[in-house]
């Protein structure tokens, strides 16, 4: 039996994985600050003494598509949208500093400022804690101002400044929790000139029409690869019947 079927099968598996990535992107078309995953397939040629005609297909999620999503105003004073390639530093569940574009902030009962994923937002020196009874305002540079409820006319006091990190020149990749980390470890420097849009949120950067096209393409490719398998089967069958005929005569 020909090894063609294994090559075709690797292609089918690849198409299925591709569909899965597309499905996951599609499902996250409304997740705040979501970055679409990009899958890339590479032919893996089997090296050996034989003819190098077998190139298995192998897919991998290379990186995330970092195109900005659409920013829309929400009117909520604790919603922020980052600009350019900047990302907000948050503390992951394992305690490390990770990066996200998700800026729907809220205050936990203990006064910790968290984003929509429930991760504490990092300030100048670790997670930001705010006075629980204060009204919060966020400045365009990420500074958090607290208005004392007992003296609303006083100048608001600066609590901390959200760490907005510059990703320029650093390689970042999405981890298993969907948060971005510096490849090889380490933390990003804070961008002192960073600006955020307050009372606005950045949507997911998944484009519905692009996703549709990708999906159809993956489906058709899968169909073609199935066809290859069936062709291999036909060839194999005709070969076997030839043998049978010669044996019978």
């Amino acid at each position: 039996m020909d090894r063609l079927i294994y090559t075709a099968m690797s292609g089918m598996t690849d198409s299925m994985n591709r569909q899965r990535v597309i499905a996951s992107n599609m499902a996250n078309a409304q997740t705040v600050g979501f970055r679409a995953d990009m899958i890339a397939s590479t032919p893996v040629t089997l090296k050996g003494p034989a003819l190098e005609a077998r190139a298995m297909s192998d897919g991998e999620v290379r990186s995330a598509d970092m195109t900005p999503g659409t920013v829309s105003a929400t009117g909520n004073p604790l919603d922020i949208a980052m600009q350019g390639t900047d990302m907000m530093a948050v503390q992951a569940n394992d305690g490390t500093e990770v990066y996200t574009r998700r800026g729907d902030l809220s205050v936990s009962p203990t006064g910790v400022l968290t984003n929509g994923d429930g991760l504490p937002v990092m300030g100048n020196g670790g997670p930001i804690t705010v006075p629980v009874d204060a009204k919060l305002k966020i400045g365009p540079d990420g500074t958090i101002l607290a208005v004392d409820p007992t003296n609303p006319n006083l100048q608001p006091s600066v609590v901390d400044k959200i760490k907005i990190a510059s990703t320029a020149g650093s390689q970042i990749a999405k981890g298993l929790d969907g948060q971005f980390r510096v490849v090889g470890g380490g933390i990003l420097p804070a961008d002192d000139n960073a600006q955020v849009s307050v009372a606005a949120l950045e949507g997911s950067n998944v484009s519905a029409s692009q996703v549709m096209v990708d999906m159809l393409q993956a489906q058709r490719l899968f169909d073609i690869r199935t066809k290859l398998l069936s062709t291999a089967k036909d060839m194999d069958q005709s070969g076997t019947s030839l043998l049978r005929q010669s044996a019978g005569s």
Binding site: R20, A27, V32, V132, L176, D223
Partner: protein, 262 residues
């Protein structure tokens, strides 16, 4: 399993379905006094590690990148959008609107407190100020029978002219509750909210003092649902649902094809 693209797309359908429910609840409450619209928050489900970056490919090579496949999306929760609704003048003496922060405190039949911004109050047969469901406001305020010209000041002072006539006298004081994290309050229906660990404990204050909102008599706070926004969200949600269902049929076609061809 290779069909997991189906499962991933299903999480998308589920999430859009839930979001549609939130939108329809917002729309249904477009005329509910002091209703605050909810926003559905989406969150990425955890990624599945198919191949770790740096894993050995052959004895000489390592994979430069990994294969981390997303497993879909979930609705993480809803958050109440606390923007002030517009004030609608009704002229009714017992209609109270809150301008700014705070909630009226009422006593439920269970003995627990509930909090509301819906100030469409009325008098009980005993002259007590109560909600339309008959829950008395706390601390209880009783208007003596036969009183005239009941006025409620912006600071919550309730005064009335006694049945015998003469000058208006103070008959009570409405206080309001504020919360460290008002978004953590739990909706229990009937325009009522209840305290939770997430909201923190109620802090009782006088209207107009220390950041507590003021009371406007003869007006009601309308719902802060904006019909146009909800309709746009609804269309967006519907389209997203359609694309996700398209994905299901696409993957189904792939499997069908494999089944029939092979």
């Amino acid at each position: 399993m290779s069909a997991s693209a189906l499962q991933v797309a299903r999480t998308g359908l589920d999430a859009q379905d839930t979001r549609m429910r939130v939108i329809s609840n917002n729309l249904a409450n477009v005329n509910t006094t002091a209703f605050k619209r909810d926003r559905a928050n989406f969150a990425t489900l955890t990624y599945q590690d198919m191949r770790v970056a740096g894993q050995q490919n052959t004895s000489q090579n390592n994979y430069a990148t990994g294969l981390n496949l997303g497993t879909g999306v979930q609705i993480q929760g809803t958050s109440r959008q606390e923007e002030q609704g517009t004030l609608d003048t009704t002229g009714n003496a017992y209609d109270l609107a809150i301008q700014g922060d705070g909630y009226f405190q009422v006593l439920l039949p269970t003995g627990q407190f509930a909090y509301t911004r819906a100030g469409n109050f009325s008098l009980s047969s005993q002259g007590e100020i109560q909600t339309s469901d008959g829950y008395p406001i706390q601390p209880a305020i009783t208007i003596p029978q036969g009183s005239t010209s009941v006025t409620i000041g912006s600071d919550g002072t309730v005064s009335a002219i006694p049945p015998a006539g003469g000058n208006a006298v103070q008959v009570g004081q409405i206080t309001m509750a504020t919360f460290p994290n008002a978004q953590g309050l739990q909706s229990i229906g009937g325009n009522m909210l209840q305290e939770t660990t997430a909201s923190g404990t109620a802090q009782i204050g006088t209207p107009g003092v220390q950041g507590v909102g003021t009371i406007k008599q003869g007006a009601l706070e309308t719902s802060n649902v904006n019909i146009v926004t909800e309709l746009v969200d609804m269309i967006e949600c519907q389209r997203a649902y359609e694309i996700n269902s398209k994905m299901i049929s696409s993957v189904d076609d792939m499997l069908k094809n494999a089944n029939q061809t092979l």
